[in-house]
Symmetry: C2
Subunit: 236 residues, 2 copies
């Protein structure tokens, strides 16, 4: 047992208790001072362990009462999404179809809260093995030093493009995943048959004041889409 910090030993034992069912969701743990006495460590060390169990989602404290075992968040998953990496065949090319100035419309009003009147629209086509597998449309409010020239735009990920002049820590993002009806434009662009399934990922980027500063749609051919989400607690 050499080298294992005391607070980690406490964490391990409490996790085992929770996984075994000795502590059930809703149960109250022994108090900090009881644990300190039981494990013969200082209250500070106990607090360090309990604080770790809190950040890992196992327990929560209630001031004046005690620590309680949480209901596990069984509906919560971690999804990794990146415009480039979510397409299964990696060795792909990207082709810039065009950069246009467009006026607002019902869809853009809805997504941007009807503020801007015109937008820069950037269209990309993503290829795998010389065949088009994804179609990407991004909208940015037009004005104030946004990338309007093709040379300024490299196919970086959307958050990077949109948040070019601010910290990436201060933006919020949202993805909505659906299966769209096929439009004629889509069928032609991606060389689709009527039965070919497509995944649509709508992405919105918000600034620190929750104002939409970017909106994008990524259409991926069904068989090339690789979206995975994972959920797990750390083992004792």
């Amino acid at each position: 047992m050499i080298g294992v910090p005391l607070y980690m030993q406490l964490v391990k034992q409490i996790k085992e208790g929770i996984n075994d069912g000795a502590f059930k969701p809703g149960d109250m743990l022994p108090s900090e001072s009881q644990l300190a006495a039981e494990y013969d460590v200082s209250r500070t060390t106990v607090r360090k362990g309990l604080s770790l169990l809190f950040t890992e989602g196992y327990i929560y404290p209630v001031a004046g009462k005690g620590y309680f075992v949480k209901e596990p968040e069984i509906d919560q998953y971690t999804l990794y999404f990146n415009e480039r990496k979510c397409i299964d065949t990696y060795a792909n090319e990207t082709k810039l179809l065009g950069v246009k100035l467009v006026n607002t419309n019902a869809e853009l009003n809805r997504e941007f809260g009807s503020k801007p009147k015109s937008f820069v629209m950037i269209q990309w086509l993503i290829y795998a093995d010389k065949k088009p597998v994804a179609y990407d449309i991004k909208y940015l409010p037009y004005g104030k030093g946004k990338p309007t020239v093709e040379k300024e735009i490299h196919y970086a990920t959307f958050p990077e493009v949109v948040a070019k002049h601010q910290s990436l820590f201060s933006i919020e993002k949202e993805l909505r995943i659906s299966a769209p009806k096929l439009t004629q434009e889509l069928k032609e662009t991606l060389h689709l048959n009527n039965e070919d399934p497509v995944i649509l990922i709508k992405q919105r980027i918000f600034d620190a004041n929750h104002k939409t500063i970017g909106y994008g749609k990524l259409f991926i051919k069904g068989e090339h889409c690789n979206l995975m989400a994972v959920s797990s607690y750390n083992m004792p």
Copy 2:
């Protein structure tokens, strides 16, 4: 400023520094003792603040060197998925189509690591406004007290069914999202036309040893699918 803990004031100021760009990803923060001197607090209080910034993903410590500003995890989202709630029209009924014993096949061998020879297959149909909107197939390895009788199965979420006799903290889960080609079975079950889009969510449940203990497929009609993922850092 009454009532704001000292360590929170430190956290706030460092977050502002990161969001402003005063501290950039890769930069090293002042040392614990420098911060303690600067803010006139104890080293313990500084550590409490820095530890919070660490768990929130802003910084990371390197022993013997210092604290560094992290690259923000721009590809990481939180996805909320629940078999019932991901269907947009809530007031839905569910109908148990059947519970069968089936032999293994290529798909089940792949998903379960070719261990079990037979499975309990549970089929559900989910309705909204009297119309079928989703089709759900779950597989559980057959044996040892698994639910084999219809009465034992209520339409709880999959993790709850599978992990009936163990702590929900000790299981891991995986979702894979795709758009499937329509089979004849699917078209008939969900009353689909050829152009109707469908989302397929494959779910796997693992036990503490990463052995698959459940596999499910949920087919949702495109227009009723409501999958959203969010990502955000906490503001200063």
